[in-house]
Amino acid sequence: MENRTKHLFLTGFCLAHLMAIAPSVLAADETERDDRPLIEPDVKPVPVDQALIDTENFEIGAFAGVLNIEDFESSFVYGGKLTYHLSESFFFEAGLGFAEAGATSFENLAGNVQVLTDSERDCSYYNINLGYNILPGQAFLTENYAFNTNFYLIGGTGATEFGGDTRFTINAGAGYQILLTDSLAIHLGVRQHYYQIDVVGAEKTSMNTEISTGLSVFF
C-alpha cells in the first residue's frame, strides 16, 4: 500500500516538474534560434495605391488644315480640341476652329462689290462631339516600328459664327489617329459642317468640308 501511494505521489511530482521545466526549455531554444536574415532589407512591401497610377483619359491637341466655306472659297483653318475618353471606344470632343473666308465668284467677276464686310468674313466655330473608335489597329513603319492606330467616326453639334450671325451647325466626319507613343498622337481628319445661311440669296444648307492634320497629347 505504501509503495502504491509513493508511486502515485512520485509520478505526479515528476510529471508536474517536467511540465514546469518544458516551457523554459522551449523558451531557451527560441532565444537561441534566430530566423531573421543577417541584414534586414530596408524595403518594406508597399501596397498598390491607385492614386499613384497616372491616368491619361484626357487628350488636348491643335490642328491645321483647309476649310472649304461654301460660296467663299477654301481657306486655311486652325484650331484646338479637348478630348475626354469615356471608354476604350467612346470619347467626347470639344473643338474650336478659326478661318477667314475668301470672296464669292460674284464678287470676283463683278469687281467692286462686297457681299460681306471684312469682319463678317471671319469664320469661327465651336462644336461638341461624340466619337467612336470603330477600327483600332496597328500601322507598321518599316520592319522596326509599330504604332497603335484608331479609325474613328465622330459627329456633334455646335455653332458657326460667320456672315454676321451665329448659326447652329451640325458636323460629322471621320478621323485616323496614329499614336506615336502612348501619350502623343497624330490625327488626320475629314469633317463636314452643315448650317443654314442666307447671305447669298435664299436660305440654304451650306456644306463645308474640312480636312485637317493635328497633334495631340494625353494627360
Binding site: 534586414e40 508597399v46 501596397p47 498598390v48 491607385q50 461638341i128 483600332p136 496597328q138 447652329f168
Partner: protein
C-alpha cells in the same frame, strides 16, 4: 551580432538619404500575377492584338492607366496593356488583392459629381447645352447649366442654376424632377429689320430620366418648361427637350 546592429544603424541614415536622392518620389506600383496568366495587348482596347502574356508568379509594374486598361512593364522591360479587371486579380507586395476602381452601377448610384452635354430643341430652335452637377445626398443635387439656342430669327444664350431631386437613386433607369432659375440673352438675327437685344430672367421646372449604360457614362433626357419674365404685360413660355450623354465621378 551587436556589431551588425551598430553597422546597420550607422548605414540607415545614409540609405534613407540615398533613397531620397535617387529614387522616384513615388514608389513603383508592382503587382504579382496569381491567376494562371494575364494577356497583354499592344494597346488599350480589346481590338488590339494579344502579343504576350505573363505567367503566375511574375511581377508587373503598373505604369499608367487609360480608361479600363493599365500599361504594365515586366522584369525584362517589356511593355504592354492589361485589362483593369485582370489587374484586379493580382496581388501587391503585401499579398493583398489589388483594388482598382471599375465604375459600375453601384458607383453610379453613389456618384458625387456628374457632367454632360445635351442637344435638343428649345421652342423650335436647336439647343446645345452643357452642365455640371454636385450631389449633396443620393437624392438631392445642384446643377449649373449653359445653353445656346440658335433659331432662325434669333440667337439665345442661357445660364441656369437648378436643384434636382431623384426619388430612386439605386434604379438603373431613374426619373428626376428639377426646379431652377436663370437668365436668358436674346440677340435677334442681323438680317431682321429691327434687331433689338434683350435679356430676361427665367424660371423653370422639368422632369427627366437618367439611364446608366456602363463604365462611367449614362444617358440623360429631360423636358423643361420655362417661364420668361419679360417687362411687358405678359410673360413668355417656352418648352425645351434635350437628350445627351453624361459622365460621373
Amino acid at each position: 551580432m551587436p556589431i551588425v546592429i551598430v553597422l546597420l544603424m550607422l548605414c540607415l541614415p545614409a540609405t534613407v538619404w540615398a533613397g531620397w536622392l535617387w529614387s522616384d518620389d513615388e514608389p513603383a506600383q508592382v503587382v504579382q500575377v496569381v491567376e494562371p496568366f494575364v494577356a497583354w495587348r499592344t494597346g488599350p482596347a480589346v481590338g488590339y492584338p494579344v502579343f504576350h502574356s505573363s505567367e503566375k508568379g511574375e511581377w508587373l509594374t503598373l505604369l499608367q492607366r487609360k480608361t479600363g486598361w493599365v500599361k504594365v512593364r515586366d522584369r525584362k522591360d517589356r511593355e504592354g496593356w492589361v485589362a483593369v479587371a485582370d489587374i484586379a486579380q493580382t496581388r501587391d507586395a503585401t499579398g493583398e488583392r489589388v483594388t482598382l476602381s471599375v465604375p459600375d452601377l453601384a458607383a453610379f448610384s453613389e456618384r458625387n459629381v456628374e457632367a454632360g452635354i445635351m442637344m435638343g430643341r428649345f421652342q423650335g430652335a436647336p439647343v446645345t447645352a452643357g452642365y455640371g452637377g454636385y450631389w449633396f445626398t443620393p437624392n438631392l443635387a445642384a446643377e449649373l447649366w449653359g445653353s445656346q439656342m440658335l433659331g432662325s430669327a434669333s440667337e439665345m444664350l442661357m445660364v441656369n442654376a437648378n436643384i434636382v431631386h431623384q426619388p430612386f437613386p439605386h434604379w438603373r433607369v431613374s426619373p428626376f424632377f428639377t426646379l431652377g432659375v436663370g437668365h436668358i440673352w436674346v440677340d435677334p438675327k442681323a438680317t431682321l429689320a429691327v434687331p433689338e437685344e434683350r435679356d430676361n430672367s427665367v424660371g423653370h421646372a422639368g422632369v427627366g430620366l437618367r439611364a446608366y449604360i456602363s463604365e462611367r457614362y449614362f444617358i440623360r433626357a429631360e423636358v423643361k418648361d420655362y417661364k420668361v419674365f419679360t417687362s411687358r404685360s405678359t410673360n413668355e413660355e417656352a418648352t425645351e427637350w434635350k437628350i445627351g450623354l453624361s459622365i460621373f465621378f
